[in-house]
Subunit: 215 residues, 2 copies
Amino acid sequence: MALPELKLDPKPDTRERIVEAAARLFHEQGYNATGISTILREAGVNAGSLYHFFPSKEALLVGVLERYVHGLHPIVIGPVEAKTQDPIERVFALLDQYRNWLAPIGFSMGCPIGNLALEIADSAPQVRALIDLNFQNWSKAVRAWIDAAGDRLPATTNRHELADFVLTVMEGGIMQSRAARTPEAFDACVSQLRRYFELLQEAARRERSSVSGPP
Amino acid sequence: MALPELKLDPKPDTRERIVEAAARLFHEQGYNATGISTILREAGVNAGSLYHFFPSKEALLVGVLERYVHGLHPIVIGPVEAKTQDPIERVFALLDQYRNWLAPIGFSMGCPIGNLALEIADSAPQVRALIDLNFQNWSKAVRAWIDAAGDRLPATTNRHELADFVLTVMEGGIMQSRAARTPEAFDACVSQLRRYFELLQEAARRERSSVSGPP
DNA sequence: TTCTGGGTTGAACGCTCAATCAACTCTTGG
DNA sequence: CCAAGAGTTGATTGAGCGTTCAACCCAGAA
C-alpha cells in the first residue's frame, strides 16, 4: 500500500476555526452573551457546518474547555518552566506570565476558565467536570513546584492546600482587577502572596537551624 | 393639620418585592439567565408595574446593587462586630459567617456581587461603578479591623493591600468552592489565610521583642 | 463513469426575550 | 363628588436566539 500522508494541516480546518472563535468570544463576552451567529461570522462558517461538528452550543463549550485542558502544559506551564528554574520562583513566574497576558487588554476580560466556572455553574455535569479538571490540572502543576521546594517550606505545611491557595489568589486577584479595570488589585495580591511565601521560608529556616542546631 | 402617619410598611410595596425577587434570582441563576418574566412571577407583579419603577432590566440591576451597598453594614458587618471583639478574629468571623450563609445551599451559588462582577464586566459604567463601590466598602470594613490590630502586625505591613487580599481570598475561595460544589476549597483558603496571619503576628512579636529587647 | 458520504450552504422555524402601551383601578386632596 | 395622577393590568410587539433541513459540492473508491 502507498504510504498514507500524515495529516499535516490538511485543510483550513473548519472545526478548529469554530473552536478558536468560540473560545475567543466566550472569553471576551461570556458564554450566554455570545450568539451562535457571532461565532459563525467570526469563524467564517455557516450554521450547518457548526452543527455538523457540534450538536449544540453546549457541545461547543465542551470543545472549548477540552482545548484549554490540552493547552495547559504546552502553552502555560512549559514556558514558565523553561524560563525559571527555582521551584518557588516558578509560582511567581506563572502569576507574572498571566499578568502579562491580561495586561494588554486592560484586565477587562478575566480568566477564561474562571469566568465560565461562575457563569455555567449549574449546567450539564460534563461541563462542570471539565471546568473542575482544568482547575485540578493547574493545581497539580503548582503542587509539583511546591513539592520540589522541599525543606525550604516548613515540614508542617499542607502542600495541597497551599497549591490550591495559589490558584485561588490568582483567580480572586484577576476578578478584583477586572472589576476595578486596573492591575493594582492583582499586583497587591501577588505582593501579599510573596510575603506569605517569604514568611513560610523564614519559618522553615528557623525550623532547620533548631533541629540541627545547638546539641 | 392632622399628624401624618409615618410610613410604616404602607403597602405590600411593589418596588421592594421586585428588587428582592430580582436580587434572589440574579444570585441563583445569574443576570442574563434570569428573564423578566421569571422576576414578574416570583414578585407577583405585572410587566407594566416593573417598567413603571425601572425603565429597563439594567436599571433594575442598579437597584439590586444599591440594595447590596445599603445592606453591607446592617446585615454583614454589624453582626460580625457584635459577636466578635478581637479585630483580627473579626476577619475570620466574617469569613465564617459567609461560609455559614453559603453552606446550606451547597456552595452552588457563589458571592452575589462577585458573580455579577464577572458576568457584567463590560456593561454600563454605572453598573461597574456600583460593583466597585460594593467591593470598596467591604475592603474598608476589613481595613478598619486591620488598623485596629495595631502592632500585632509588623510595622512594615501594607494594610491596604492586606485588606484587599482578605477580600480576594474570600472571593477566590467562594469561586473555587462553587466550581467544585464542595466547601473544601473555601475552608482550605481560610486555613491558609489564618496561617498567614499567624506568621505575621509572630513576625510582629519578634519585631517588638528586638526593639524593647536585650539592652 | 458512477456511486458514496463527509462536509457545506443558507433560508427558515419555533420560541423566548426585553420592552411597550392603551386602558383601567385606586388613593388622595379640594 | 369630582379631578388628577400614581400605580397596575396583560396582551402584544419585534428582535434575536439556538437549531433544523433539504439541497448541494466534491474527493476518492469501485
